[in-house]
Symmetry: C2
Subunit: 409 residues, 2 copies
């Protein structure tokens, strides 16, 4: 399957417009965008996955309800940053209002709008800025508005996150693109953070839902920045069918192509989220192979990627492989620890640090070289089967503490 990485983010797929602007939800002297709109020219088959936190942001509740009401259809997304609209008595009312304002401006039904918010928890969302912003967002909608939208959803993110691919399916040129925001309170137990994926592929609501949950499992759910699970995590996939392929209604070769492209987009957004984790200086990738099944491989890879001690060691460029083995050991999965091998690698080389569950000698000089890179891979082999999985994360640094010691004020 040929796939080309292209520009365009959420506007890469045919018929998707976007816009973003500053409306002043939180007073911000830099006037950085804080609200975005995405709209499809035609109705989309859509699905979402959400946080499993009992404390759910009001927008999560409203979006879920809307997608249920429409039976998996949506046309637009309205999303703000700087305020999570969570733990507020009037939260749902405000989230509904965001939908009805958007629906009014676009001439669609409120339940055809997906709403999302991210930012501080427990502060009342001021609705006036949103009321004023929606007509402006509508006016600003364009087929290359993806960048303004991607900027608008950033919170402590230092860079915007967009990714898109072009591929062929049923003889038609197709696209999947997306945008995402991080970058703290990220823990793999559902779609993490805010992610909006758009596509022009024709595919049924049911298969959109299936593909999204299958790919979320091996991408966003394999990401950990800090082990905290947000209240507002939402990942939405919308497909409007404008590519003109015959609608995908069941599993098979074309569904597999769609899934591969979706994986490409979501895995790359996941890596961007990991690399831009709060305070991060290094992207850490943990590959667990040789597992008897994929779930076991995921559990082991995630256990390592979230260990604070391992993360600190990577920040300190210290080849403290004992901490890796320790985190493998407390992974809640059944395997024989005395078979496990571990390698640490980067573009600068590779060290083999553990074999049969015990340490092996390695050159501290080479270790230093390997760990000085800004992307490090930990390669674990359980030697008991042929399944593998990848998890992504970042190092734990002074800046993570700094950013989160004074986020609210």
């Amino acid at each position: 399957m040929e796939m080309k990485v292209i520009d365009g983010g959420v506007c890469a797929a045919k018929g998707f417009k976007a816009s973003g602007l500053y409306c002043g939800i939180k007073n911000n002297p830099t006037k950085k965008n804080d609200i975005a709109l995405i709209a499809s020219d035609t109705i989309c088959n859509a699905a979402g996955v959400y946080t499993q936190n009992k404390v759910k942001g009001a927008p999560v509740i409203v979006t879920k309800r809307n997608l249920e009401k429409t039976g998996g259809k949506a046309i637009a997304v309205i999303v703000n940053s700087k305020n999570a609209n969570t733990c507020n008595a009037d939260g749902e009312e405000k989230a509904e209002k965001m939908c009805s304002l958007t629906a009014g401006a676009l001439g669609i039904k409120p339940e055809e709008v997906i709403v999302a918010s991210t930012g501080v928890i427990g502060q009342i969302l001021p609705i006036e800025p949103v009321v004023e912003a929606v007509p402006k967002l509508k006016a600003a909608l364009s087929y290359d508005g993806n960048e303004q939208a991607a900027i608008a959803i950033m919170t402590t993110d230092t860079v915007k996150k967009e990714y898109a691919v072009e591929f062929t399916l049923d003889g038609k040129v197709c696209h999947i693109g997306g945008m995402a925001k991080g970058s703290g309170m990220i823990h793999p137990n559902m779609a993490t953070t805010l992610n909006f994926i758009t596509s022009d592929v024709a595919i049924s609501s049911e298969m959109v839902k299936k593909a999204l949950s299958e790919i979320v499992k091996v991408t966003y759910n394999c990401l950990s920045i800090d082990g905290d699970q947000s209240t507002n995590d939402t990942c939405v996939l919308m497909a409007n069918g404008l590519a003109g392929n015959a609608e995908i209604k069941s599993e098979g070769a074309e569904y597999d192509i769609f899934k591969s492209a979706l994986y490409e987009v979501m895995a790359n957004l996941t890596k961007m989220l990991a690399k831009d984790g709060e305070g991060a200086t290094k992207l850490l990738t943990c590959v667990c192979s040789g597992a008897s099944d994929i779930d076991k491989a995921i559990v082991v890879a995630k256990s390592v990627i979230r260990s604070p001690l391992f993360k600190c060691a990577m920040f300190g460029e210290d080849a403290n492989w004992g901490r890796i083995l320790c985190a493998i050991g407390y992974a809640e999965a059944d395997f024989d620890i005395t078979k496990v091998s571990v390698d640490i690698l980067s573009k600068n080389g590779k060290i083999h640090v553990c074999e049969n569950g015990a340490g092996v000698e390695f050159s501290e000089q080479v270790a230093k070289e390997v760990l000085s890179a800004d992307e490090i891979t930990i390669d674990i082999n359980l030697y008991e089967g042929s399944s593998s999985a990848t998890a992504w994360g970042c190092d734990l640094t002074y800046d993570y503490v700094k950013i989160n010691g004074d986020y609210r004020t």
Copy 2:
């Protein structure tokens, strides 16, 4: 029940001697003690609880085996710091050697010795320093050697941890005392770190085991520094019966007195471990009350105490209560989040930040005052029952990152 806090640590109970010295397991210019011996004048009923990590330090395996061999009897403890003797091909052999050396010096059986190690994982334990140290430790044994022993088990601990109480049981003056070491790689899923508790109470092996596991559940297991579970966690309780009370063989009033005293010692050691968590500037205590059962209360209190974002907020003295509610929300327990209330308090005052799962207004001025204290309590009420539990932890600081970015080298 009257209970008096006394000096003496592991030597507070009748018939327990201890010693500690520097033997040079890892070259250390400060020559800080790195090996300790505890010995009872008579054989003890003893029990241990250990890490649940699949990667177990060799001493954990040997201690467990010894206590099984003897049917819960022990006379001495040999313990070193600076090297965990974990993930080494010759680990068990070395741990056995530590037991036989100690047994030889004391004229007891090797299986009557409890062995423990703490420090770096995956480096071969040099046995020569231990061979030389054991006769010296034996010679130095004294009824007030507790402090030298407590110093010897410290790794990144900044202070030694000892606690002891005196109380009356069956008309006899009785004692329980202990020592512990922290201070990173601590996560509540078993007895955490190394803890040695001694008592002169007469109590059967079976009841020693029962009391230890009951109290571990509500003390050490409610402690989290960083979410990493060590490979060498060991908590041992030894009781030699020299107080002269009628042996406790079943539940009842005297068992309850013993348990209360044990709780007092272990809860205070737990608080010391939390307060001296790596890089910590604040002791955090989270009390969850109003739960329908104690397990639920424990899960909720622990979920908050281990949240990195909450820990950073406390370091930054930021009353970001949304993060507390978020961590309550992802606790794996079933309750109604819309009933939950949260207070934050310290010696400087109290703020009521959340009611019925939603934020309430509070004075930022008072919040600042409350959070400037070095001991902060988070008070959560689930309003659904009468069970409660306490968890202990500390803030996440620059120094945690610093200490762990360069621990091995």
